[in-house]
Amino acid sequence: MSTELAIRLRGVVKRYGAITAVDGLDLDVPLGTCVGLLGPNGAGKSTTMRLLTAQSIADEGELEVLGFRLPDESKAARAECGVVPQLDNLDTTLTVEQNLLVFTHLYRIPRAERREAIERALRMANLVDRRDTRADKLSGGMRRRLLIARALVHRPRLVLMDEPTVGLDPQVRQELWALIDSLRSEGTTILMSTHYIEEAQRLADTVLIMSHGKAVAAGPPSDLVLQHAGREALEVYGPPSRLAEVEAEAGAAGLRTRRTGTSVSILGAEAGNGYAVEGERRPANLEDVFVLLTGEEIA
């Protein structure tokens, strides 16, 4: 295996009573890359994130973060990790700057470097002129940026982001993508869970598709798409009876399809297999892969 893994999971199992949230998960995150954990709600993404900070203890399997074995050496690993939680846990009555100040202490930044660490985090998250604003007076997007800044205040080698843009407006989401992308280009290793296909496709070097606590596929997004869904999809619209007909015909021609509400997507449409039908051609995407592999709709 690679000598430079930031995260290495082997056969990790986590059960809650009768429910197996993570079911034999293997995961590699090479240093300097951005890996996306993609899956619907309940796939085990958040549990995986909790396992990586030892807030959940695995029932089986091996976990290594930055070379530290979990859970025993988790504290040393956490010193070099930044975590962006899914649910906002800022101190709401404190100002932006005070929130960062608290974390310079929790992350043990030496006194002489605290000031500069706070300023750098403020600049990175574009919150310099909001430093004296109380957290509960910030907009949703700014609070998210503050959560990210807080996770970066100690220059972590690895950043864990659990659904970093969940519940935000599309516009704010793109703003955050730019921020995450700039981190990535600076060489910070990122593990990000998401159930937004576009987010994974844009930001992740490698995507791991999770379903029911297991990894069902892993690879660069474009490879996964090409391998599982081909190059193009044909989107056929029509009334439900017509859609059923198209599905049957495409199936008979050996093509794979998936329903997307008002249309049927015929995958691998570039091959054709001698079947022709009116429709809109579009590039195949990660969502096609996801639905094919898990049989589940996402988002």
Binding site: T53, G67, R69, T92, V102
Partner: protein, 271 residues
Amino acid sequence: MTAASAAANVASRARRVGRLDRRALTGVLVREVVNYSSYWRSSTFSSTVEPTIYLLAFGFGFGSIVSQVAGYDYVDFVGTGIVATAVLFSSAFPGMFGTFVKYKFQRTYDAILAAPVDTEEIVTAEALWLATRAAVYGCVPLLVAIAFGLDPTWGMLLVPFIAWISGFGWACFGISIAGFASSFENFNYIVSAVLTPLFLVAGTFFPLDQLPEFLQVLAQLNPLHHCVELVRGAAFGFDGWVDLLHVGALLLFGFAMWRIAIHAMTKKLVD
């Protein structure tokens, strides 16, 4: 194992972060202190005004009927005893409610546990902080009593220390209850069935030697009673080895509650 990760593991053993690390405790304390700057007014108000009202109501209400109790002026008797009440209010209650709010609504502990801090350090630092607050708030009734005629003595300088030890135990008691509770409603049972009786039968408002024998024996298990006795000792003169036993009881209470609080919160925070 690869060479790189083996090397990292050697490094990790050298850097294995210890339990109850000073920097982790400092980090949690800083969080508490910075937050305190945003709510100290209401906290100080409730922690000082409430015992003061008790002091005035009992001191002057009862005091008009009974002027002397156990050889002391009644206002002096209550003024010293009520220090324990002030300590209880300013440590057990924030321990219970504050911890539960941070756990359930603010998800503060998820944020802290993502940093190199363990549950044991969170509980310890928060209890240290509450104990320190209780040491200060605990002195307020004494100052009020002095304003109403209690003679200041040098021994009273020990009161903050007595209040601190006592407050540490009660803070840990509150944190334990928050750790075991599944909802806010659970606190009603604790307040009504545990705290109210303990606070009434602590020797604060009336001397315990008038009570039936079994209650007198039970009162020895009440940490508030030990606090009350020690504060009276500090104000009116200590009673030798008996007061050492009181100190021992408070230390034991504090230590036991500290371990229980850590156990309860670890179960709650780490699954």
